[in-house]
């Protein structure tokens, strides 16, 4: 009687491991058939482009999830970085590299403060980063009294801003590299893929990454083998801050304007991507590959539905439904595999 049992167990293991990826493939096939124009390289790049910024933020959140934390401030860091980039070029009339450097610095600083609040002051992660979120949402609007930043805007002292988004900066958001087809792959996509690769390698294949996972699972035990737990936690928040700042820079470069209303959905969408990542390859824990797949999944879904002319609210609904069903599937199955998967 062992045969069918073993077969079922193998089937189950297969479903847990590849279920989500199969769903993704199925989705792509379905849209390719149902939505004319879906299946072509431009469309694929388009999907990547549409998830690049969310994906970058999601990779940062993943890092904080790995050490058992959570970063609610990423959306606000990204929009702050967007405003800071615009402010430093348009109002302060700085060149592109200064603007980018300032943004990265700001992201690192916010991450450092988040980390210190959590590690030194022992404020629970959700709380510290929620506070930081409100703080940044307010802060980023103070220099311009809540106005968007664009060349020619009137400043508080009555002057008009003379600076502008430099071409080098806009290149970051708008240039496309040739790949087979001319002008195919936009810079943000390349940056997204590079960051995904870096974080995937870092978390999965270096001793630091392994220790970060250990901290997320049992911080005390990790401290007792001599790992600098506090420093790793702070590092995770700094990574998250910097990636969010990169996301903000790319957003600024794509928009060409310091728009205060942009970036509202970044937090929720990137959290969704990171959490969907749990279901990929049956990991049941935060992981960079899963996060990238999660971001891609949401991108493909929205793209496909847009091409099928589905109204915006059905997209939310389907996004939620597919998310719940995919995860039900993975987590339910892996809980059946044995007591190993804990929630």
């Amino acid at each position: 009687m062992a045969e069918p049992g073993a077969f079922r167990a193998r089937l189950l293991a297969f479903a847990i491991r590849y279920g989500f990826l199969l769903l993704l493939v199925g989705l792509v096939l379905y849209f390719s058939l149902a939505a004319p124009g879906f299946a072509n390289p431009r469309s694929a790049v388009f999907v990547l482009q549409s998830v690049a910024i969310t994906g970058i933020l999601a990779l940062g959140v993943t890092t904080t999830l790995v050490v058992g934390g959570f970063d609610l401030s990423i959306g606000a860091v990204a929009t702050s970085s967007l405003m800071l980039a615009a402010y430093s070029m348009v109002v302060l009339e700085q060149p592109a590299y200064v603007a980018v450097a300032l943004c990265l610095l700001m992201g690192a600083l916010v991450g450092l403060i988040n980390g210190l609040l959590i590690v030194k002051c022992r404020i629970p992660d959700l709380l510290a980063t929620l506070g930081m979120m409100f703080l940044l949402i307010g802060l980023q609007r103070i220099p311009t009294q809540g106005n968007s930043i664009a060349t020619g805007m009137t400043l508080a002292d009555g002057e008009t801003a003379q600076g502008s988004f430099s071409a080098a900066f806009l290149w970051l958001g708008r240039h496309r590299f040739d790949l087979v087809i001319e002008r195919l792959v936009p810079v943000p996509v390349v940056i997204f893929l590079l960051i995904a690769l870096a974080i995937w390698l870092f978390l999965g294949f270096t001793r630091h990454g392994r220790l970060m996972y250990a901290i997320g699972s049992n911080a005390r035990a990790t401290a007792l083998v001599g790992a600098p737990v506090a420093r790793y936690k702070i590092a995770a928040y700094m990574i998250s801050g910097v990636t969010a700042a990169i996301g903000g820079v790319l957003l600024a470069a794509r928009l060409g304007r310091g728009d205060i209303a942009s970036g509202n959905n970044l937090l929720l969408d990137s959290v969704a991507a990171a959490l969907i990542g749990f279901a990929v390859l049956g990991a049941a824990r935060p992981n960079a590959f899963g996060t990238a797949m999660g971001a891609l999944f949401v991108g493909i879904l929205l793209q496909g539905m847009t091409m099928l002319n589905a109204p915006y609210y059905t997209q939310d609904f389907v996004k939620g439904a597919v998310l719940v069903i995919a995860l039900m599937f993975t987590f339910y199955l892996s809980s059946r595999r044995g007591p190993s998967m804990r929630h």
């Binding site: 294949f205 990790t222 007792l224």
Partner: protein
């Protein structure tokens, strides 16, 4: 190697260490004995850089030693296996990762973790300890014993100057413990200094070169004359002599629990026995003996595969924990930190958790009655604490264990199952708990699962030895031959 002088440590108003003086030499095993709450683990945590002493001098090989954190201590060659098993393992990582965790934390390790080297090195560490685990298994899936072994194996692989083991055998079987002892022998020969903490006399007899007794935060005795004076050491650690109370087996009343042809392990012979009213039966056996399965069946956590159970003459087949409780079957589970202690609660709430209904009127809880009941139980079991409102996390391990036992002694029941009730309990407290269990045994059947035969003899009227799901021996607790029992447990009966 290591010398301590006048070490002080207090937690708030609780002065735990009050001037500890201690030296440990290279190539020596010093056993630290002390009642629960004497301050042993606190001393260990000071040595390993987890706590900072309030006062005192420490020198390591002649140099001042003041570790700032665990990392610093490890770098200076002091490696510790902590008492709490969960402080030694990462549940969500694989066995291999766990075995090499400290290497990841060291700067000497390269940046990259290669799956192949990881596996090779982990296998070496595991084999040194005689472990045959699946290296890819997640540690969360392993038994407590395996988890404890992993923590120990990792520490031993470290070639430390001073190795500290805080109750390393609390969840190990005799065979596993023996493997550990052999390894410690080898390290001792290599000149490693070893500080060993245990409540188990077998361990102490087997290992100690010297015994140091700790009482109320001070060294209360030191024994280095061979043969070591164990009764003297016990007296020094407890401050009183412990009269060996020989058990007078009571005649069992009518059968309360009956097992009929229960299969404990796949493919093994069915088991039948009965436990009578007022009787205390100890079950003992090695890993895989089926004890765990039996407990799970009795407490509604696992369906009966075959056979039947009867409780008070009526069929008994619980499907859930609450069904078991409704029939008057109580279980004090083993592995208290996972299965028992509610860390956010104080003693009173922990103690009364199963019986909250009895402590409430009109839906509202009566705090005063909870406290009153807890205070009584604290007195009955001699729990060392400031008040019933102490957070449970501030108690020493042994005292937490007493709270867990006390939890289930508060209401009368038909069948009381105690699974490893003496885990981490000092010898004096063991007597206290044993006495309480025997004193209250009338009116119920009591089943005690212990892996130490010594412990079985201290408490039971009758001892049943299990081996691979079968009864390998059964004996009334009178004129027992320990050797025979041990042989039966090992399957050579």
């Amino acid at each position: 190697m290591l010398a301590l002088h006048g070490l002080y440590k207090a937690f708030g108003a609780n002065q735990v260490l009050r001037g500890v003086d201690l030296t440990i030499d290279a190539g020596e095993v010093v056993v630290l004995m002390g009642a629960n709450g004497a301050g042993k683990s606190t001393l260990v945590k000071v040595l390993s850089g987890y706590h900072v002493a309030d006062d005192g001098v420490m020198t390591l090989a002649g140099n001042a030693y003041h570790p700032v954190d665990a990392r610093d201590a490890i770098r200076q060659g002091i490696v510790t296996v902590h008492q709490a098993i969960d402080d030694g393992v990462i549940p969500d990582l694989s066995v291999a990762d766990n075995l090499l965790l400290d290497r990841f934390a060291s700067r000497d390790h390269g940046l990259w973790v290669s799956a192949r080297t990881l596996r090779r090195e982990a296998r070496q560490v595991a084999e040194a300890m005689g472990m045959t685990l699946d290296l890819d298994a997640r540690v969360a899936e392993l038994s407590v014993a395996d988890r404890q072994l992993i923590g120990i194996a990792r520490a031993l692989a470290h070639s430390p100057r001073l190795l500290i083991l805080d109750e390393p055998t609390s969840s190990l079987s005799a065979a596993e413990a023996e493997r550990l002892f052999n390894l410690l022998d080898r390290l001792r020969e290599q000149g490693v200094a070893i500080l060993y903490i245990s409540h188990r006399m077998t361990d102490i007899r087997r290992l100690a070169d010297r015994i140091v007794c700790l009482r109320d935060g001070r060294v209360s005795g030191m024994f280095d004359q061979k043969p070591l004076d164990l009764p003297g050491a016990v007296q020094a650690m407890l401050g009183q002599t412990l009269e060996a109370t020989a058990i007078q087996p009571v005649a069992p009343g009518p059968a309360v629990l009956e097992l009929h042809d229960i299969v404990l392990a796949p493919g093994s012979k069915p088991v039948s026995f009965a436990v009578g009213d007022g009787e205390v039966v100890a079950l003992t056996g090695l890993l895989g003996s089926g004890m765990e399965a039996l407990v799970a069946m009795l407490f509604g956590q696992r369906p009966l595969s075959q056979g039947s159970l009867r409780l008070d003459g009526r069929d008994y087949a619980p499907n859930t924990v609450s069904e078991a409780l409704a029939r008057g079957v109580f279980l004090a589970a083993k592995d208290r930190s996972v299965n028992g202690v509610v860390a956010d609660f104080d003693i009173a709430d922990n103690m009364t958790l199963p019986f909250l209904k009895a402590f409430s009127t009109g839906g509202l809880l009566r705090r005063s009655r909870q406290r009153q009941a807890a205070t009584q139980m604290i007195e009955r079991l001699g729990i060392v604490c400031q008040s019933p409102q102490d957070a449970i996390g501030t108690l020493s391990g042994g005292n937490q264990q007493k709270v867990m036992i006390g939890r289930w002694l508060q209401a009368p029941c038909r069948l009381l199952i105690l699974d490893e009730p003496f885990q981490g309990v000092d010898i004096g407290a063991r007597h206290d708990i044993g006495r309480q269990i025997r004193a209250t045994a009338k009116g119920r059947a009591t089943l005690v699962c212990v892996s130490e035969i010594d412990e079985a003899i201290e408490i039971a009227d009758r001892i049943i030895v299990l081996h691979e799901g079968c009864i390998a021996g059964e004996q009334y607790n009178q004129d027992i031959d320990l050797g025979v029992l041990a042989a039966q447990a090992a399957g050579h009966g």
